[in-house]
């Protein structure tokens, strides 16, 4: 049956790919290489201390902060502001975004308002924020809240817009209630977009902690960075920034976990 004179070769595999798999240790490796190069550059004088202090100096500043016991106070102060501001901004933004995604009237009325208010620089409004919210915790939390509110609104309604309409029609055809459809079809469908958006909004929240702690803050990583910047104490500046990076990495790791758990249905 087989014509053996003709050339036989295996069918070429052309599928696969386009599905990134975790590569262990690549992340830490990149970090290590970068920091090592930076340290080497600083030690050999290629990078002048004016341009960037050596990582070892920044670590020195961190150790100092830790020994003095101020580290925990700074961390605790910033974390509580971050959490309060980010969580409330995300919840509120999620609700508004959902409303914009669901109701024509809300969309027509609020979407342009969001587009108009989002690009207002919160730092520029600091003078007014203080009048509105005082110089206590309120104004700091409010700043983070407003900073994360608008992007969350936009992600959420973007995600809702992208939910497969056939699935919604299916829910309706089974007489599911409006709330059931929103909770069981629209929210899970928008979840990938919302989680991806939360990566961004959490980073924005962390960025804003510095702006928030410009206002009458004695404690907090933002205040620490601020003082370091105004004193041009670059080692402390980098140490503070590194702490914020660690915040960012932690949140990112948590969101990645959540994605793995909540989006495991994705092919």
């Amino acid at each position: 049956m087989t014509d053996t004179r003709e050339p036989a070769r295996p069918v070429r595999f052309r599928g696969g790919g386009f599905a990134p798999r975790p590569v262990r240790l690549a992340g830490p490796a990149v970090f290590l290489v970068l920091v090592a190069a930076w340290e080497a550059g600083a030690r050999t004088g290629v990078i002048s201390p004016l341009v960037l202090p050596a990582p070892s100096e920044a670590i020195g500043a961190l150790v100092e902060l830790w020994v003095s016991g101020e580290l925990w106070e700074h961390l605790a102060a910033s974390l509580s502001r971050l959490l309060l501001g980010w969580v409330s901004g995300t919840v509120l933004g999620g609700l508004i975004g959902l409303a914009i995604g669901l109701f024509s009237l809300v969309r027509a009325g609020l979407a342009p308002l969001v587009a108009a208010l989002f690009p207002i620089p919160k730092i520029a409004l600091l003078p007014l924020f203080i009048i509105w919210f005082g110089i206590g915790e309120e104004s700091k939390v409010a700043l983070i809240l407003f900073g994360t509110l608008f992007p969350t609104v936009i992600f959420t309604y973007g995600g809702v817009d992208n939910v497969d309409r056939t699935l919604i029609r299916m829910g309706q055809s089974f007489g599911l209630g409006w709330f059931s459809i929103v909770r069981k079809i629209i929210l899970p469908g928008a979840l990938p977009a919302i989680l991806s958006g939360m990566r961004v909004s959490s980073a924005i929240a962390i960025i804003l902690i510095v702006a928030a702690e410009l206002i009458a803050a004695e404690r907090g990583i933002g205040a620490y960075i601020q003082i370091a910047g105004s004193l041009f104490a670059t080692d402390q500046l980098i140490a503070g920034v590194a702490l914020l990076s660690v915040f960012g990495l932690t949140v990112n790791w948590l969101i990645a976990r959540a994605e793995r758990l909540l989006l495991r249905w994705r092919p």
Binding site: L126, P127, L128, I130, I135, A216, Q226, G229, S230, F232
Partner: protein, 314 residues
């Protein structure tokens, strides 16, 4: 050919020495082609001098400035704004609420909140001196770093902070509007206060002596002109008017002249003739920064100041 000089400035009346020198051609006479670079805050200006983006600048002595000097990047070479007893200078203010609450003298500021722009700013220094003189610890005052003058004004008006110090024209405008109360003068607490200084990069100070001297000469002429017209008013109304117009090209530009003129006039304070520098005041400030742990213990007055350019009061 003219030597190019990049001069950093803030759009404040206290920088008018440079504006006058430029407009009246004093820089040109010294063979300097001056190019202004305007900043929104003093701190970036100091950094820009360290990075070599600009050559000269004028600003208050701050922790950042001292630290940059400690890194060997910049040097103070002359003085500008100074406060002395007897000259109308910075005022101590309290909010109406604090006043009603019995804060009527600087001594009452103990246990109160006080607005500053940043830790290590001149405001921080001033309250520390007031506290020292009145005999209470600085830690008894709750310092509120609020970054910007505008923000502090807002906080003071709305009674969220109790006290502040600020230049007289702003203080009087606020008090005149009934928004705050003036309870004293900073000059009473600090015996001759060198508020702002002229500074440049260490490289300029050591390697471009000729250029720097020419710059300071022209700047001094501008200062003399400014003092004569705006402070002493020796040229009468005409000189005041023409100099105000000249300054208005740089300060409050987004307001029409009629609105800007009073602010410019009231804000004009005497600049140090010949860019003299009060080294004693500078040294005192340096020691204070060290004692507060804001700057490196090792930094010496020699690292901070190059005394070879102008007359020194010590």
């Amino acid at each position: 050919a003219q030597d190019k000089v990049r001069l950093g400035a803030l759009r404040f009346t206290s920088h008018s020495g440079a504006f006058v020198a430029f407009e009246k051609g004093y820089f040109e006479e010294e063979g300097l082609d001056v190019e202004f670079h305007f900043f929104q805050a003093a701190a970036p200006m100091a950094v820009a001098i360290a990075s070599g983006d600009i050559d000269y600048g004028v600003t208050a002595i701050s922790g950042g400035l001292i630290n940059l000097a400690g890194k060997g990047a910049i040097k103070v070479i002359g003085g500008a704004l100074v406060e002395e007893i007897g000259v109308d200078g910075q005022k101590i203010l309290v909010s109406n609420q604090a006043w009603d609450d019995g804060v009527t003298t600087p001594a009452d500021l103990a246990g109160r909140s006080f607005g500053i722009t940043q830790t290590g700013s001149s405001f921080h220094y001033m309250i520390s001196q007031i506290a020292a003189q009145e005999g209470f610890a600085l830690s008894e005052v709750s310092l509120k770093p609020l970054q910007k003058v505008g923000v502090i004004i807002g906080a003071l008006k709305s009674g969220q902070i109790d006290g502040w110090t600020i230049v007289p024209h702003i203080a009087k405008a606020l008090a005149g509007g009934g928004a705050v109360k003036i309870i004293g003068n900073v000059a009473d607490y600090i015996d001759t206060y060198q508020v702002t200084t002229i500074f440049t990069s260490s490289a300029n100070a050591s390697d471009k002596r000729d250029l720097t001297e020419r710059f300071l000469r022209a700047y001094s002429k501008g200062i003399a002109d400014f003092n004569a017209n705006m402070v002493d008013r020796t040229e009468g109304e005409a000189g005041l008017e023409s100099t105000t117009r000249l300054i208005h090209r740089y300060v409050y530009t987004s307001r029409p002249y009629e609105k800007a003129a009073p602010s410019i006039r009231n804000g004009s304070m005497r600049l140090q003739p010949g860019a003299r520098l009060n080294l004693a005041s500078v040294r005192h400030q340096l020691e204070w920064f060290k004692s507060e742990g804001l700057v490196d213990e090792e930094i010496t007055i020699e690292q901070l100041v190059d005394t070879s350019y102008v007359e020194i009061d010590d």
